[in-house]
């Protein structure tokens, strides 16, 4: 009887160890399989040409990813520019001003914002942001715009990354020792002065890490951006032109590329590119955030 218990325990332990190793290896498997899928196109074309050419004619065998890369970059940067100040101010407010009840009221707001599916954001974007840009904002700057633009993608994406930014920033702020802010307050500094001179300065690395994390989330967001940004393969010259980010490229062309091996490989290259960038950004910022958390635990 006793023996069976121990056999069970040891079997479970080994099974769990197996799962744990699988999870670590899984990341490498994803990377490698995307890499091997993308290998044919990287052999066929120079990597530099793939990344810097803007010719996209899959049926002639021209694969230049520059318009997609630049579109992704623009949309993500606009998103960060919109989301960062809003979430930074809100997090400071929640951290050092708001009472417990306001904080508790705000939690479900952040939860819901992060829970709303990308498709719903897309629907909302096409219903509100796109007409707003086309009718109200764009006429002040350019002659004509459909509204399906870089700006629309950026705005929708900006709202989508706000909950991520807020939840990480409040955690970073919480890791600042209370004695520090108390010291500043007892010297007669106002709450805002304390926030500006103590909290922001102390949590600067954390804020950078949160921003990088949000940026990488923005790079990979597919459906919502696809629905509002127009999907025209060009290098956008202003905020009021259509663009075509990398994830949208993959999503839109997956069905039709099966007949052409080089086309499939090119799309897999796009996925691989996205994967590498996101893993790098994520790794860096998670490492920084873990460091911050550790310091907080020991102090």
């Amino acid at each position: 009887m006793r023996k069976i218990r121990y056999v069970k325990d040891i079997t479970a332990r080994h099974l769990m160890l197996g799962i744990a190793i699988f999870v670590i290896v899984f990341l490498i498997i994803i990377g490698l399989s995307l890499f091997f899928k993308a290998l044919p196109i990287m052999k066929e074309k120079n990597l530099w040409v793939l990344l810097t050419s803007s010719d996209w004619k899959p049926f002639k065998g021209d694969f230049g990813f520059l318009p997609y890369i630049i579109s992704t970059f623009y949309v993500s940067v606009i998103a960060i520019v919109i989301a960062l100040p809003l979430s930074l101010l809100t997090s400071i407010y929640l951290n050092s001003y708001a009472s417990g009840s306001i904080r508790r009221f705000f939690e479900p707001v952040v939860d819901l914002l992060s829970g709303i599916p990308p498709v719903i954001y897309g629907v909302w974007g096409t219903l509100t942001i796109v007409p707003l840009i086309s009718n109200k904002i764009a006429p002040h700057f350019v002659d004509f715009s459909t509204g399906y633009t870089v700006l629309a993608g950026g705005i929708v994406l900006g709202i989508m990354i706000i909950p991520l930014l807020i939840s990480i920033m409040t955690e970073v702020f919480r890791s600042i020792p209370v004695e520090m802010t108390d010291a500043s307050l007892s010297m007669g500094a106002t709450k805002w002065q304390t926030a500006k001179k103590v909290i922001l300065r102390k949590s600067f690395p954390g804020i950078i890490a949160a921003t990088v994390l949000a940026l990488s989330r923005a790079f990979g967001e597919t459906m919502a951006v696809l629905m509002v940004c127009g999907n025209v393969a060009q290098i956008p010259h202003s905020f009021f032109e259509a663009c075509y980010p990398l994830p949208a490229l993959i999503a839109n062309n997956y069905g039709e590329m099966l007949s052409m091996p080089s086309y499939e490989s090119a799309l897999m290259f796009a996925a691989f590119l996205l994967f590498i960038i996101v893993v790098m950004f994520n790794g860096l910022s998670r490492f920084t955030l873990n460091q911050i958390e550790k310091r907080y635990q020991f102090s």
């Binding site: 218990r5 332990r13 819901l112 897309g122 893993v279 790794g283 998670r286």
Partner: protein, 278 residues
């Protein structure tokens, strides 16, 4: 002077918080305002009839059912992996072990991998294994997407358990497996929260199922058949030039939003329950 600055910035900060709340209300409000008028009982309970995509009769039951099937399968798969894993990290490995730090780190990175990349990888995997776009493909891919989400929220609640509870169990002579079983019961509300969060995320994601689950007007009856999903159904209907079909897209969006709202609020309910009887 400094009090003036204080006042101004306090106002700006409240403004920012109000903007965020207003945007949330605006999003949900817009979806309901546009979708509710077209939301009929037929929408919920019927599969698409002939000429559905031209504005004729039918509903989106195919998509709702497909989404539910996919998320159920994916949930079972990801629970089978994430629950043992969290137990292993928290109860079997020493508290500050290098190995558990590595596992957590790789899960953090998996958490950040975009759903479209999971979709592409899932598709490559299916081609390799010779599976066509089907319910099974969707289940596997969505399981990959929600596994890190579940694992992270489970890990958070497990870390909140009082440290002396495992010690008490061990001192009574139980093996670690028996101890884990007891603690799992204690963690039940936390597991529910993790499940609901993962379901909410998985059911709303379109990019993962786009190439892996396919699309069909029928309710799938086996794992090998393609399955429609609610987000994709919204997306396809929205792309139609026919106005009735577009209105139905808004109505489907209402269905999806209601599902998400229920998930989100019950997740909150269970997590508050967990914190209470900690």
């Amino acid at each position: 002077m400094k009090f003036l600055e204080e006042k101004i910035f306090k106002l700006i900060m409240i403004g920012a918080a109000v903007i965020i709340m207003a945007v949330l209300a605006y999003i949900i409000g817009t979806v309901f305002y546009k979708g509710l008028p077209s939301l009929t009982w037929e929408m919920i309970t019927r599969i698409p009839g002939g000429g559905f995509y031209l504005g004729k009769e039918g509903g989106v039951l195919n998509a709702t059912a497909g989404s539910v099937f996919i998320i159920t399968g994916a949930l079972v798969l990801s629970m089978l992996i994430s629950i043992p894993l969290v137990m292993y990290i928290n109860f079997y490995l020493p508290k500050r072990s290098f190995f558990s730090a590595i596992i957590r780190f790789s899960l953090d990175i998996l958490f950040g991998v975009p759903s479209i990349v999971y979709g592409a990888f899932g598709f490559a995997l299916m081609v390799y294994m010779g599976i066509r776009a089907s319910l099974l493909g969707g289940i596997i891919t969505v399981a990959m997407l929600i596994m890190p989400i579940m694992m992270r929220s489970l890990d958070e609640v497990t870390r909140l358990l009082p440290r002396d509870l495992p010690d008490a169990l061990l001192s009574l002579g139980s093996t670690k497996l028996e101890m884990t079983k007891v603690l799992l019961r204690k963690l039940m509300p936390g597991i529910m929260t993790a499940v609901l969060l993962a379901v909410g995320r998985g059911i709303g994601d379109a990019a993962t199922v786009l190439f892996t689950a396919g699309y069909t007007d029928n309710i799938p009856s086996s794992l090998g058949q393609p399955a429609a999903t609610l987000p994709l159904s919204i997306f396809f209907q929205l792309g139609s030039p026919v106005e009735e079909v577009q209105n139905r897209a808004y109505a489907s969006a209402v269905i999806l939003t209601i599902i998400i709202l229920i998930m989100s609020f019950s997740a909150r309910y269970f997590s508050s329950k967990f914190l209470k009887n900690k």
